[in-house]
C-alpha cells in the first residue's frame, strides 16, 4: 500500500502483483466432492487497475461467481494468490477479512439487496457506522451522485428496481472502497434502466479511480466497459470484442 510506483493499467504482465486495484495470480478453486467435483477456477490470473471497468461474461456455471467470491475475500482459492490494494488476502484471518471487505471492497448485488427496514439514506448510514466512519457522515451528496437524493427517505419497498440498484451502488461507495464487485446488476431491469445503471457504474469507477469488475449476462450493456473477458469452464478466455 505504501508503494508509490505502481504500474499503469494493463502493464503488469509479470507475476508480481500490482500495488493498487486487484491482482489474481494462478488461482485454482474446486467446488463440491467426488463425482460432483468441478473446477470453478482453473489457473486464473487477472489484473484490474484503479479506474478500470471490467466486464466478465460467460455461461452459467463457468466460474464467474467464484471469481467474484475470491476477488471479494468471501472465499479462498485452493492455490494462487489474490491481492487487493497491495494486501495479500491469504494473510488475513476470517475476522480481519470482514473488516478488510468493509473498508476496501464495495459490493453491488443483484436487484440491489437493500435492507428492507432502512430508508435509502439509512442504508448508507449503516455502512458508515459499521465501518466506524465519521459521526457527521452525510449520505445526501453520495445519493445525489447516483441521482437518488430525492428518494433519501424512501424504503426499498417504495423504490423501483433501477432506483434500488442506484442506492446499492451508492452504498458500495460509502467507505471509499477502491475495488467494486458487481454481480448481475441488470438482472431484473428493463433495457433503458440497465443502460442507466451500467453507465452510472462506469462513470463512478472512472471518476473515483475505482477498479470495477462486473459479472453480467447482459450483452446490451457491454459498450460501457473498458475491457471484457469471457469465462468458460473456469478459464478466462481471450477478451471479447467491445460492441
Amino acid at each position: 500500500m505504501t508503494s508509490s510506483t505502481f504500474p499503469a493499467a494493463g502493464a503488469s504482465r509479470a507475476d508480481a502483483p500490482q500495488a493498487a486495484g486487484l491482482s489474481i495470480r494462478h488461482a485454482v478453486m474446486e467446488l463440491g466432492d467426488g463425482d460432483t467435483r468441478v473446477t470453478a477456477l482453473d489457473d486464473v490470473s487477472l489484473d484490474v487497475a484503479p479506474g478500470e471497468f471490467l466486464a466478465i461474461v460467460g455461461p452459467s456455471g463457468s466460474g464467474k461467481s467464484s471469481l467474484l467470491a475470491v476477488a471479494g475475500a468471501l472465499a479462498s482459492p485452493d492455490s494462487g494468490t489474490v491481492t487487493v490494494n497491495g494486501q495479500d488476502l491469504s494473510q488475513l484471518s476470517q475476522g480481519k477479512r470482514a473488516a478488510f471487505r468493509l473498508s476496501n471492497i464495495g459490493f453491488v448485488f443483484q436487484s440491489g439487496n437493500l435492507i428492507p427496514a432502512l430508508t435509502a439514506a439509512d442504508q448508507l448510514r449503516l455502512i458508515n457506522r459499521l465501518a466506524g466512519g465519521p459521526k457527521t457522515f452525510d449520505p445526501v451528496p453520495l445519493l445525489e451522485s447516483v441521482g437518488m437524493a430525492h428518494r433519501a427517505t424512501n424504503r426499498p419497498g417504495q423504490l423501483s428496481g433501477g432506483e434500488r440498484q442506484r442506492v446499492g451502488i451508492a452504498r458500495a461507495l460509502v467507505t471509499g472502497a477502491k475495488l467494486l464487485l458487481v454481480d448481475e446488476p441488470t438482472a431484473s431491469l428493463d433495457r433503458a434502466r440497465s443502460r442507466e445503471v451500467v453507465e452510472l457504474l462506469a462513470r463512478q469507477s472512472h471518476e473515483h479511480g475505482v477498479a470495477t469488475i462486473m459479472v453480467t449476462h447482459d450483452h446490451d450493456v457491454l459498450g460501457y466497459c473498458d475491457r471484457i473477458v469471457e469465462m468458460v469452464d473456469g478459464r478466462l478466455g481471450a477478451p471479447a470484442p467491445v460492441r
Binding site: S65, L68, A69, G72, L74, A75, G95, A98, A99, F100, R101, L102, S103, I105, F107, F109, Q110, N113, I115, P116, A117, L118, D122, R125, L126, I127, R129, L130, A131, R155, R171, D183, E184, A187
Partner: protein, 380 residues
C-alpha cells in the same frame, strides 16, 4: 442498535403481536405471583407473624395438618427449654372452630392457645391483651366479617362464649381462616371437651385436668443455631424451622406447589415462544444478513444488534404487562386471596425477561452461521 431500532419500527406489526404475547405472559406472572403471595398469607400469616424460629411437633406426627394433630406435654416443653441456644419456648394449642357472632353471622376461627404475657402474644392494633378467661384477640382481617371490639362469638355445638378484646397488628390467618388468640387454659378447656355453654370462668379453668398443647414454639437466641436433632432426641419431638412448618398447615403444600408448577410452565413457555419468534425472524432476514456479512459487518455487531432488539422487545412489553397486571391486581375482589408484594413480582419480571433473552439468544446465534456467500447469485 441502529438497525435493531429501525427494524422494530419497520416490522412493528409483527413485533407488536409478539410483544402482546410477552405482555400477556407478564400479566399472568403478576397475577400468579399475587395469588401465590395471597394464598401464602391466607394460609400461614398467623405463623409468619410469630417471633418463632422453630416449631416442635410430637414425634411421629403425620406432616400434613400436623399442627392440629400433634400433642405435646410439659416434659417435652422443659426438654426444649434446656436446649442450648433457646431463648424461650412455650406451649401452643392449635384448633379449628366454627362459631356464630352475636349478630348471627357464621364465622370460622383458628384457635391459637397461648400463655398470656408470653413471647407468643401478638402485637395488637387495637384493644387490650389476653388475660380474661373469655378474652380473645382476633386477626385484624376479621373486621371485614363484622367483628368489632366487644363482639361475642359463640362456638357451635358446645356453646362456649368468647369475647373479642383486641385485634392483631395486620393479617393473622391460618389455613385460610382468621386466627383467634386465646389463653392456653381456655384452649385446653375447649380442646379437652370440658367447656360448658356460656363464658368460661376462672373457676372452671383451674379445675381443668388437661395440661397438654399442640406444639412447642421455640425462639432461638439472636444469631444462635439450634441443634434440632439433639433437641428432638431429648424431647421426643420432630422439629421444623418456622418456614418448613408452613407445610404442616392445611393445604399449604398443595396450593404452593400447584402455583409453582404453573409458574415454571409459564417461564418455559415464555422462553420457547420468544425463541420460536426470533428463529422465524432470523430465517426471514437470512438474505439481508448474508448481504451485510458479505459487505463486511462483523458477526459481533450483528449478534449484539439482534440481542439488543430482543432485549428492547422483552423489557418494553414485560414492563407494559407488569403495569397492567398491577392495575388488575389492585382491582381484585377482597374475597380473593391476593397480595401484591414487590420482591416476588421483581423476581418474576426478571425471570420473564431473562428466560425470554435466553430463548432469543439461541435463535439469534443463527446469525453467525449464515454464509456471506449467499449474497452472491440470484437466489432469494
Amino acid at each position: 442498535m441502529f438497525l435493531a431500532l429501525r427494524e422494530l419500527i419497520f416490522a412493528r406489526g409483527r413485533f407488536s403481536l409478539m410483544g402482546g404475547v410477552i405482555a400477556l405472559i407478564a400479566v399472568l406472572m403478576v397475577m400468579l405471583s399475587g395469588l401465590s403471595s395471597g394464598l401464602v398469607n391466607d394460609g400461614v400469616s398467623g405463623l409468619k407473624s410469630m417471633p418463632v424460629t422453630t416449631i416442635a411437633f410430637d414425634q411421629g406426627t403425620k406432616t400434613d395438618n400436623a399442627f392440629s394433630r400433634s400433642v405435646i406435654d410439659d416434659q417435652q416443653l422443659n426438654a426444649w427449654r434446656s436446649v442450648e441456644g433457646v431463648a424461650a419456648a412455650a406451649k401452643m394449642g392449635v384448633g379449628m372452630a366454627n362459631a356464630t357472632t352475636d349478630s348471627g353471622k357464621q364465622i370460622d376461627l383458628t384457635l391459637f392457645g397461648i400463655e398470656p404475657g408470653s413471647f407468643l402474644e401478638p402485637s395488637r392494633s387495637a384493644g387490650t391483651g389476653l388475660g380474661d378467661p373469655d378474652g380473645i384477640v382476633v386477626s385484624s382481617t376479621a373486621k371485614a366479617e363484622g367483628i368489632d371490639l366487644g363482639t361475642v362469638v359463640t362456638l357451635d355445638r358446645i356453646g362456649t362464649k368468647l369475647r373479642v378484646v383486641g385485634f392483631t397488628d395486620g393479617q393473622a390467618t391460618f389455613g385460610h381462616v382468621e386466627v383467634a388468640y386465646l389463653p392456653l387454659k381456655t384452649w385446653q378447656l375447649i380442646a379437652s371437651g370440658q367447656a360448658a355453654a356460656g363464658a368460661p370462668s376462672a373457676e372452671r379453668m383451674s379445675a381443668v385436668s388437661f395440661d397438654t398443647a399442640s406444639v412447642v414454639a421455640v425462639q432461638a437466641k439472636p444469631g444462635a443455631r439450634l441443634d434440632l436433632a439433639a433437641g428432638d432426641t431429648a424431647a421426643g419431638t420432630t422439629s421444623k424451622s418456622l418456614s418448613a412448618a408452613f407445610n404442616a398447615s392445611p393445604g399449604y403444600e398443595a396450593e404452593t406447589m400447584t402455583l409453582s408448577m404453573i409458574q415454571v410452565f409459564l417461564y418455559a413457555i415464555c422462553a420457547l415462544v420468544v425463541g420460536a419468534f426470533f428463529t422465524v425472524w432470523t430465517i426471514q432476514r437470512k438474505h439481508e444478513i448474508s448481504v451485510l456479512r458479505a459487505i463486511g459487518a462483523s458477526t459481533g455487531y450483528l449478534l449484539r444488534d439482534g440481542l439488543a432488539q430482543a432485549a428492547i422487545l422483552l423489557v418494553g412489553f414485560t414492563a407494559l404487562g407488569v403495569a397492567a397486571g398491577l392495575g388488575l391486581g389492585a382491582a381484585m375482589p377482597d374475597a380473593m386471596p391476593f397480595a401484591l408484594e414487590a420482591t416476588p413480582i421483581a423476581i418474576a419480571t426478571a425471570l420473564t425477561i431473562g428466560l425470554g433473552l435466553i430463548g432469543a439468544t439461541v435463535a439469534v446465534v443463527r446469525i453467525s452461521r449464515i454464509d456471506p456467500l449467499n449474497a452472491l447469485g440470484g437466489q432469494r
